[in-house]
Structure formats: C-alpha cells, structure tokens
C-alpha cells in the first residue's frame, strides 16, 4: 500500500524536502568535524611540542581495549548501514533488528570505554583527580591524558546521543512510521552514527598507537 510522504509546508515536494534534509545533515556533519577539529589541532600542536611525553603516555593506554573498541565501532557502522538499507527495501523488522544490534554494539563500546576509564583511574592517570606519573616527562604525559579524556569524553557523549537517536528511530520504525519512500530520519541518524565512528577512526591511532614499537 502506497502511503503519501508528508511534505512540510515550506517545501515544493518530497524530493526537495529530501534533498534539503540531506544537505542540512551534511553541513551539520561538517560542523562536527570542526568541533572535534579544535581538539585534533590541540593534540597535534601538543604532540609536536612534547613528542617523547606523548610516546610514553600513549604506551600507558590500554591497546587491547582500544583496539577491541575500534572493531566494535566499525561493526556497529556495518549494522547501521544495513539497518538503513533494510528500511529502504521496506524490511521493517530486519531494519529494527540491525538498529538494535547497533545500539548493543554502542553500549558495548561505552562499557569498554568505562572499563578503560576505571583502569586509568586505578593507574593514576586522571589529570586533576589523581594523576601521578614518574619521570621527567610527567607534565607532558598529563597533557596527553588531559586531551585523551577530553577527546574520548566528547566522543562518548556523541555515542550516547547516537544511541538515544538510534533507539528512538528503532521505536519509530517498529511503529511503522517509515516507508521505503520516507525513511529520511533513519538515513540521517545513520549519517550521524557513521560520523561518530569516523571521529573514533582518527582518535584511535593518535591515542593508542603513538609509540608501540
């Protein structure tokens, strides 16, 4: 059964509405690149300033958990992309299933991250809280971990928002709010999820792989 797409009053037709939504979302994603970008800039400058400190500090991160988390997030992008694809093909249950998988992987990511934070805490690596590291490069190591917590903190906040968004989309999809002709919110939600994944893709080598050899 064909259901008409609801077109907001400012748009001429569904096509214009779709194109506007897509462009608006991508422009928003560009703002996110620059938002995190200020942190990547701070990281770059700080690392150039204190390369030895960053090397030491990076070795203190938990590479196992970090790498597992990267795999978890990359997989969640796969499930999200499949969720969007299923929605486009009208496969409602499959789509909701993939969205739930995405959420589960997102929660797993946050759980692993939380574990890491706990381990950092017990390892006296939390600036302003209990940071205590030996050696002449301690200040630089603390700077690294300051950036580590700020960058992964903002990333985790975005993950949390993403989980809420995908959760809402799953509920809406379950209630048959979407059709193959109208599933823009799912598509846009997917874009957001993938962007948060891309941020992590860059965070991972910068935080975990600086000097492992």
């Amino acid at each position: 059964m064909v259901e008409a797409v609801v077109v907001a009053r400012q748009f001429d037709d569904a096509r214009q509405q779709r194109r506007a939504s897509d462009l608006g979302m991508w422009v928003f994603l560009a703002t996110e690149i620059l938002f995190f970008g200020a942190l990547f800039m701070s990281y770059t400058i700080s690392r150039i300033h204190a390369p030895e400190a960053f090397a030491i500090a990076s070795r203190l991160t938990n590479i196992t958990l970090g790498s597992v988390n990267t795999a978890v997030l990359l997989t969640s992008s796969l499930t999200m992309a499949l969720a969007v694809r299923a929605m486009k093909l009208g496969m409602r249950r499959t789509s909701v299933g993939f969205m739930c998988a995405t959420i589960a992987l997102g929660i797993a990511f946050l759980a692993i991250k939380g574990t890491e934070y706990w381990l950092d805490y017990t390892g006296n690596l939390v600036p302003a809280v209990n940071f205590a590291q030996p050696g002449p490069h301690a200040a630089g190591v603390e700077l690294f971990f300051f950036l580590y917590f700020v960058m992964t903190g903002w990333h985790s906040l975005h993950m949390l928002i993403g989980i809420v968004v995908v959760g809402s989309l799953a509920v809406m999809a379950w209630r048959s709010d979407f059709t193959p002709d109208y599933f823009t919110p799912v598509e846009l939600g997917g874009l957001y999820w993938h962007l948060v994944d891309i941020v992590w893709i860059f965070l991972y080598p910068l935080l975990y792989l600086v000097s492992r050899a």
Binding site: D22, L34, H49, A71, L74, A81, L82, P205, L209, S211
Partner: protein, 93 residues
Amino acid sequence: MIAHPVPRVRTYVLVWVALICLLLLTLGSAYMNLGRLNAGINLAIAAAKAWLVAFFFMHLRSSHYMLRIAAATGFFWLAILIGLSLTDFAVRY
C-alpha cells in the same frame, strides 16, 4: 526519490572486512619501528578507513555532488586550521 540501486549486503560486508583489515594493519604496523613513518602510515590508514565509511556506509558514492563538497570542506578547513598554525608552531618548537 533517489533512483540509485540499493547496494547489496555483500558490498557492505566487504567494506567491513576491508575496515577490519585496515585496523589490523594499523595495529600491526604500530609494532614495527618505522620512526616517523609510523605516524604517517597510521594517519593514511585512518584516512582510508574514513573514506570507506563515508563513501560506502554514508552513501557519498551515490550522492549529489554538493554533499561531497560539504564533507570535503569540513576536512579541508580543519587542514587549514592546523596547516597555517604550523607556520608558527613548527618553527617555534
């Protein structure tokens, strides 16, 4: 409606396989002492992963060119921020 064929599940799964391979590559190469090359390799691999996600998962491959410009602009502008600042920091540090 966008009249592009819906990608096959196989495509998405292959992209995921590529991403995991790149993850293993970046992790593995980090344990090889390549000096300054390590950072470059890691960033290049990260860029490749990001490109795969953007191109395939985010459908930039079949998108209106304006969306690709928006995406590229974000990264390019970040490059300006870091690049021009380096005229100061790379000289002073």
